[in-house]
């Protein structure tokens, strides 16, 4: 028997089609959508509000937004993916993980495309990159693993309990504002170290953002502590996600 690589690529294609169904511009939308979003945020926070005196603020914001958008979209889109693909699940006994994995893979493609746009801009603004740039693929891979673990949990939970997606949606908004996307934890809350530590280490997305910002924007975000943290976070997320998914996937054809 063959393996399921071709199935995975088919699912990725389906997911692409699902997101951008019927649009003539097709692939271009993968970039236009997040770029417009990035542009709007950057404009608002760099020029209109401009709360902090941070150099090259657009790059600063973009680095955080790239990470956050990837994470948020992965979790949101994977939530109802199993329900969407119920017709396939009721057909054959293929590995069900392929479905949320395909959703996250599509988001990974989008993130990589964004990075390809952002990196030259960052280079133009900064003039040079440090050796940290070599860490970019590592951080992206770990972020993918982390998001995949979350996507596995959210997707299988939502198949059984249909209020998971609204709960996740509601949680993502405050999570967005608590994440260090528009601000820098190192310069903030100097008088409240406990809150700062909670924001920095209690939010598993924060170290990913700080690392991405360290690589693209600079400012010494790349620290051994953060690297260790994201390795552990990615491993834990993937381990827990796989375990939960394996435990619950059996009844999928019944509950869908």
């Amino acid at each position: 028997m063959g393996d399921y690589r071709y199935l995975f690529s088919q699912l990725v294609r389906r997911e692409l089609r699902r997101k951008y169904k019927g649009s003539t511009l097709g692939v271009v939308w993968y970039l236009i959508n997040p770029l417009v979003l990035l542009g709007a945020y950057t404009f608002m926070f760099s020029f209109v509000l401009h709360p902090q005196n941070i150099r090259a603020f657009p790059i600063f914001v973009m680095a955080g937004l790239v990470v956050w958008t990837f994470f948020q979209q992965s979790v949101l889109y994977s939530a109802d993916a199993l329900i969407e693909q119920g017709a396939l699940i009721r057909k054959a006994r293929f590995p069900r993980e392929a479905i949320p994995a395909a959703v996250v893979a599509v988001q990974l493609i989008t993130m990589c495309a964004l990075l390809i746009v952002v990196i030259p801009i960052a280079l133009a603004v900064r003039g040079t990159f440090g050796p940290d740039l070599l860490l970019l693929p590592v951080v992206v891979a770990l972020l993918f693993a982390f998001a995949l673990g979350c996507a596995l949990i959210v997707s299988v939970l939502h198949a059984y309990f249909r209020d998971v997606l609204p709960i996740v949606t509601a949680a993502l908004l405050p999570w967005f504002f608590l994440s260090p996307i528009f601000f820098q934890l190192s310069t903030l809350l100097k008088s409240h170290p406990a809150i700062r530590a909670a924001l920095e280490w209690g939010n598993p997305v924060a170290p990913f953002i700080e690392l991405m910002r360290g690589i693209l924007w600079g400012g010494g975000g790349v620290t051994p502590g953060r690297l260790l943290y994201v390795v552990v976070a990615a491993g834990l997320s993937l381990a827990i996600g796989t375990t939960v998914f394996r435990r619950m996937e059996g009844e999928l054809a019944v509950v869908l």
Partner: protein, 399 residues
């Protein structure tokens, strides 16, 4: 896919048990779980209760039974789509299933893309599917519709495509649930031919159907399920007889065709079928004796009471109709029998209906009862013509 020590095409069900909970809202909510909300619903319905079944490679097995007997559950368990609660279900080799009409299809993909997708679901690579593509398209006879999104397909087209794909994936075990019935007859014949080719090549077939005809044509073995248990497991002819007997218990002693109290001047109060020994029966083999016992009741004096008896075959085709004047006793009742010495009917289900009334117009039918004639190895059709073959060569030039 874990096949253990099974050979390709071998199937083992050991003490297979599975029940399903039935709820109006089949999805629960986290909120409900956290606040400990327990909705009192009906208890889970057992679909399989300790089913044991061993099928060898190359066998063709038909599963029959009433609605809810566990037929489809058996297929879903064998396909590995629904897990068992206890017991064991194993299939050797590649298991390909045709269970639901639209399952396995991406509605916004074209027929061609769906061929690739379904192949992928069974672990085929792109090259392997491209190699089969033209054969599948030709078999499906979908023509230019193959490049149209399948959401525009009719159910017949879904069946064509679904079967064409399933029949070309080199299955070791083929699981088919009723769906074949949707295609037109020419396509059904083609499917049956294709299935026999695959069986000849060593594949195992498990077919669920309500149509004894198609089971008879395809299957060498029949499993009768009733209420989640194996009621019978053996050769097809015997199995179908068993099935008819099982269904016969549901036919009862005649169903009224009109609401109670709405009887005309003359009411068919009772209708019963009896065999040669005078026992109530619902299965009559070709050549056996059949008696329809009828009780008529009238509330007033009638001048010209008449009775009509009608026999219809599957699909409602009229087989026989006869009418007779009746004589009522002073109490206004009459007991009659319609006797058939040797049932000249061939395998199938038949409805015998009786009506009674007065004078002129043919009376409306009031009661109906169903019986079945088991399919035999001999002639096929509705009527046994009792024709005989003889050779004409022995008597030349008779003028």
């Amino acid at each position: 896919m874990s096949t253990g020590s099974l050979r390709p095409g071998q199937i083992v069900l050991r003490d297979a048990t599975r029940s399903f909970s039935v709820r109006a809202d089949n999805a629960r909510t986290l909120k409900g779980v956290f606040i400990g909300q327990r909705v009192a619903g009906p208890p889970p319905i057992p679909a399989l209760r300790g089913v044991n079944l061993t099928i060898e490679p190359g066998e063709t097995v038909g599963i029959v039974g009433r609605n809810g007997a566990g037929k489809t559950s058996t297929l879903k368990v064998l396909a590995g789509i629904v897990p068992l609660q206890s017991g064991e279900a194993r299939c050797g080799g590649r298991v390909v299933s045709l269970l639901e009409l639209a399952s396995g299809f991406a509605r916004d993909f074209s027929g061609r893309e769906n061929i690739l997708l379904q192949g992928a679901l069974y672990g085929f690579s792109k090259a392997e599917m491209e190699a089969r593509m033209q054969t599948i398209i030709d078999f499906s006879e979908l023509g230019e519709f193959i490049d149209v999104p399948v959401k525009t397909y009719s159910s017949g087209m879904f069946v064509r495509l679904g079967f064409s794909i399933a029949a070309h994936l080199e299955a070791d075990v083929l699981l088919i649930d009723e769906v074949l019935a949707v295609g037109d007859e020419a396509f059904q014949r083609k499917c049956l031919r294709r299935i026999s080719e695959q069986i000849a090549a060593g594949a195992t077939l498990v077919l669920v159907s309500h149509d004894p005809g198609s089971i008879e044509r395809v299957c060498g073995r029949v499993v009768v399920l009733d209420a989640g248990r194996v009621e019978f497991d053996g050769p097809t002819a015997e199995g179908l007889l068993h099935y008819h007997r099982l269904m016969g218990t549901e036919y009862g002693s005649g169903t009224s065709l009109r609401p109670a109290g709405d009887g005309g001047p003359l009411e068919v109060a009772e209708l019963e079928l009896r065999d040669g020994a005078g026992h109530t029966a619902s299965v009559f083999p070709t050549g056996a004796a059949l008696t329809a016992a009828i009780v008529l009741r009238s509330s007033r004096t009638l001048t010209d009471p008449r009775l009509v008896l009608e026999l219809r075959g599957e699909g409602g085709a009229l087989v026989h109709r006869t009418a007779t004047p009746v004589e009522l006793d002073p109490a206004g009742t009459a007991l009659l029998a319609f006797e058939i010495g040797e049932v000249p009917l061939l395998g199938g289900d038949y409805d015998l209906s009786v009506g009674a009334g007065e004078g002129g117009d043919p009376p409306a039918l009031q009661r109906t009862i169903r019986f079945s004639v088991p399919h035999g190895d001999g002639p096929q059709g509705i009527v046994d013509l009792r024709g005989e073959w003889r050779s004409l060569a022995a008597e030349p030039a008779r003028r």
